[in-house]
Symmetry: C2
Subunit: 298 residues, 2 copies
């Protein structure tokens, strides 16, 4: 019982005035068309066509039904094509969740660029460091830093972030610039970034691992704030490169113990629900981000 196909068949038979012709149009045999019509009439309990052996005339009820059918068929085709087109075209809205600092520093310009390429794609960006249930909150895509555990999501690595240990020249002048991890443990204080580990691990020149823990004089979940504090000489920070790069460049901050940190690399992932059918706009954005990060890292 395929109501829609029955309706379609009925409409075409009325239009063409011939079961045989419709069978040809629809690439089937006349018996199939005949049976569909009978089926429909039986279900409705109404004759739609008054038949002689060779011709048929539409009944009153048939006429009424015909009008309904035409409209319904039109609406179904609209319903299907509207969303299919929308999803296949580079337009519509992308809901995106990004970490605050990385988002502002690194992603923001890329999104602007992407938007220039595809002006019909609108963004709805949530800058937030909280954990987000992608599927449940209706996000198309999220950017996450570091490890993820949600296994029903798909992750694509975009780039890496270098963690850099640094402090201001004034601070270092006052507390002494350490040459070894051990040196850091003597009298230094840190400004603690939100989800950072309590202790820092270093790879020594001999190849061993050393874990150093120093007191935190300031905690915050915002890297830029801590970076400002470090520039003001409040302590040592372990910061993603994109946050402190500028301060290092201008020598407001100096790198401490370069290349000695273990696991100083964080991965940045684009993660998205494992939808079988992803809107084209989302696919495009992911591809764009992958491409951009690839070239900018060269």
């Amino acid at each position: 019982m395929n109501q829609l196909e029955e309706m379609q068949t009925f409409v075409r038979v009325v239009d063409a005035g011939s079961i045989t012709k419709v069978a040809e149009q629809m690439n089937t045999v006349k018996s199939a068309i005949s049976r569909r019509l009978s089926e429909l009439e039986s279900r409705l309990g109404v004759s739609l066509l008054t038949r002689t052996t060779r011709t048929h005339t539409i009944t009153d009820a048939g006429l009424t039904f015909y009008d309904h059918c035409v409209r319904i068929i039109e609406e179904v085709s609209q319903a299907e094509s509207s969303i299919s087109n929308k999803e296949k075209a580079l337009e519509g809205r992308i809901r995106l969740a990004v970490p605050l600092s990385f988002g502002l520093a690194k992603l923001s310009p890329l999104l602007q660029q992407f938007n220039n390429l595809h002006p019909k794609i609108k963004f709805d960006v949530d800058f937030n460091d909280r954990h987000i249930e992608l599927a449940e909150e209706g996000f198309d895509l999220a950017i996450r830093i570091a490890k993820l555990k949600d296994s029903s999501l798909i992750a694509k690595r975009l780039t890496t972030i270098q963690l850099i240990l640094c402090a201001s020249p004034a601070y270092l002048a006052k507390h002494g610039a350490p040459n070894t991890p051990q040196g850091l443990a003597n009298g230094h204080v840190k400004l603690n970034y939100h989800s950072a580990p309590d202790s820092w691990k270093f790879t020594t020149k001999s190849g061993g691992t050393e874990s150093i823990s120093i007191p935190s004089v300031m905690n915050a979940n915002n890297g830029d704030f801590l970076c400002q504090a470090a520039i003001a000489g409040k302590g040592v920070i372990l910061m993603p490169d994109f946050i402190c790069a500028e301060a290092i460049e201008s020598e407001q901050l100096n790198i401490i113990l370069p290349n000695q940190l273990t696991n100083s690399l964080l991965n940045v992932y684009a993660i998205y629900p494992q939808n079988k059918h992803q809107p084209q706009r989302v696919k495009s954005l992911i591809a764009f981000l992958v491409e951009q990060f690839k070239t900018s890292n060269k």
Copy 2:
């Protein structure tokens, strides 16, 4: 591929928020529901629901599609129920073709009665003696007198008509009232009713058949007109009883050679296309006519 069922399933899943519940509602198993959704999404090439293993959230596209679906389902149900009800209820229009004289004389009062019983049933009556292609011209029903050959139609005998040979007393006084068919052949003239045969057949007292042909001084395709002419003494008429009964009653016409005509009975049939599903109103009318003629003939 049953699009409508897919849409229905999708809507119910969105409403209920659970595939399992919908499976129960629809008296099937969850695997069927799950497969229908996947099928629909594949065909559209779009994710309608973003799934985790235990829950799902509707996507943007899903939301759009949902609205369409709800409207379409509503319209389909309207389309089907509207005509089903209309055809099953005692309302609507009956297109009826009836012979002119018989229609006016015998049918007209019955139709009025029927209309009083079922005031919602409208009539569209074509009083016409021409041959009508029932099916092709969209009639629900026709009343026909005598034989019919259209085998794709169904006929139901309603009543019989008695043909009566008569003339006015004045005419008979002038030309002589015949006692035998042979007597009629001597100097009598007839007023010829449209499709009547050229010669009249009589059953003689000895049991034989006699065929008499007399000149026609007037031809017409309207019985009432010929009846008036006969009353005016213009000639002999062979008329259906319902046309001349009143004139005979009032002795404006006298019966000639009573009970001697062969085949003086005509059958009246209700004929209708052999639709498998006839509107209830038409069924009712046929039943009513059969019933009324049965009682009136007692």
